[in-house]
């Protein structure tokens, strides 16, 4: 096992932590458009470029649609490309999200979660990235600035793995993480360089065009390939099947990258997919995403002191969804409360529906309640979390009905 390397601590907010991760990751091209609460990422990176601290091309664009399009072009030319956005910006990228994934380009994007308009809101909820969950991107939801830094570095390695070749979206909660100062441990530049290396372009065989020779999967006049042409009912479905399989292979790669990174940094987040907290003898647990799960740990501690057997599980990777892990662990509990900082109007929160699909037909599946909270950055105070735990404890006796509960709204 590798030795944990000595690191330097800096006071950074979540956005700055991401910018530092990008600075150290040998990125070739950054193309991004500023939007609150992501702006600081773009500002810091452009400062790094302006000051000559990085060897990176910063492409200024007129919109997010163009920002991601520029990354698509750069990545297709073999570059390591990065962009960042939030809410409305992500929505403007929507067309290109699917294209990035289907062209199998390992672009990394950080999304600072912000409630989608309207009415216009700049604060955190997860409805922006939840809207993009089916676009074929890997999604990692982080809990704090340190994890945002760590996950951004990991994302390049996951995406560029030839078994995967899918773009990765790393998210952090707007303002709660993006603008909150925290002590962040930074790896030395050379350690990150060694961890990621230079992007290697995979090779493919196209016998009818290039004979037996393996050619790089990139835009290269020497070995011409066409990216993104018409693909109708004859082959489109086969290409989607390849994407489905790549996502399945990503499980192993995400786990490996997380473990390798833990060995050099000394930091890990559960098994990389889910982060359980004090669940060993728990009767009930609360499951959720993002920064709220930090507060949840504190509440778990408080309730444990009162003698209540509670725990929490944070889902870190949302796509591919860690269904086998969750299936295995959740059946140990009597009741589960699901925290959803998002809502599919006309249905439940997105995490809850995915958990229901995961547990359907499973013997010993727990009673499950969906708690929708915090839309538009509405605070989740410890008192409310405590109440939610109490309701989940009650469900052991009374059952989960009603399963859909909206919390923190007047």
């Amino acid at each position: 096992m590798q030795k944990v390397v000595k690191q330097r601590m800096m006071a950074l907010n979540g956005d700055e932590a991401v910018a530092w991760a990008v600075k150290q990751s040998n990125v070739d091209v950054v193309s991004a458009y500023p939007i609150t609460p992501q702006t600081l990422i773009v500002e810091r990176i452009s400062e790094f470029v302006h000051n000559g601290e990085v060897d990176m091309e910063f492409i200024k664009v007129e919109s997010e649609h163009s920002a991601l399009s520029a990354c698509v072009g750069a990545a297709a030319a073999g570059a390591r490309a990065f962009t960042a956005t939030a809410a409305n910006g992500l929505q403007l990228m929507f067309e290109i999200l699917y294209i990035t994934a289907s062209l199998r380009l390992p672009v990394v994007m950080v999304v600072v979660n912000r409630a989608p308009s309207g009415p216009i809101n700049i604060h955190c909820d997860h409805n922006d990235t939840m809207g993009a969950r089916d676009s074929g991107w890997i999604q990692i939801y982080t809990e704090d600035a340190q994890e945002a830094y760590d996950s951004t570095i990991q994302a390049f390695k996951i995406s560029e793995n030839p078994e995967v070749l899918l773009p990765t979206m790393v998210t952090l909660d707007g303002f709660f993480i993006s603008h909150t100062l925290q002590n962040v441990s930074l790896l030395p530049d050379e350690v990150v360089h060694e961890f990621l290396g230079v992007r290697k372009v995979p090779k493919i065989k196209v016998p009818e065009i290039h004979g037996d020779k393996e050619v790089p999967l990139m835009l290269n006049p020497r070995y011409p390939l066409t990216f993104g042409p018409l693909d109708l009912f004859d082959y489109y479905f086969e290409h989607k099947r390849q994407q489905i399989e790549a996502m399945m292979r990503a499980y192993k790669v995400i786990e490996e990258v997380h473990r390798e990174y833990a060995e050099i940094s000394g930091r890990s987040y559960g098994d990389g997919f889910i982060e359980p907290y004090r669940i060993d003898d728990a009767d009930v647990v609360v499951v959720g995403l993002g920064s709220t799960m930090g507060t949840t740990k504190t509440i778990v501690d408080e309730l444990r002191e009162e003698g209540k057997k509670v725990g929490s599980i944070r889902v870190r990777v949302f796509r591919p969804f860690p269904r086998e892990r969750l299936k295995k662990v959740l059946c140990n509990f009597d009741a589960v409360g699901v925290l959803d900082r998002g809502i599919s109007f006309g249905h439940y929160g997105q995490l809850y529906t995915d958990l229901c699909a995961t547990l359907y037909g499973v013997k010993d599946a727990p009673a499950m309640i969906d708690f929708v909270y915090g839309l538009g950055g509405r605070d989740m105070p410890p008192k409310l979390l405590k109440k939610i735990f109490e309701e989940v404890l009650e469900a052991r006796v009374k059952g989960p009905e009603p399963v859909f509960r909206i919390k923190g709204v007047r």
Partner: protein, 88 residues
């Protein structure tokens, strides 16, 4: 020929055949037919064809390549001798 499965084609939607193997002329409704008597061999149809589907040696009567001709009718429109008829 049976179509290839997902494990037999390149990833990323990269086409595995050269573009000439895609017979884009398959979907046309009208095809241009050149009247050799009327044709003045000016080369207008050859020049205007957006798909380069008209073959011409610079001397004789041009010949449409129906494998790639989509039947747009631009050649007929541009022919000064009205020598091209669009036939269903």
């Amino acid at each position: 020929m049976s179509k290839r499965g997902w494990q037999e084609i390149p990833i990323a939607g990269i086409p595995f055949l050269e573009s000439t193997e895609y017979h884009t002329g398959d979907w046309k409704v009208f095809r241009p037919v050149i009247d050799e008597q009327k044709c003045v061999k000016c080369g207008n149809c050859w020049m205007f064809c957006p798909d380069s589907a008209i073959e011409w040696d610079g001397e004789s009567v041009p010949k449409p390549n129906y494998k790639y001709c989509k039947g747009c009718g631009i050649c007929a429109e541009e022919c000064p001798a009205k020598a091209i008829e669009m036939v269903r």
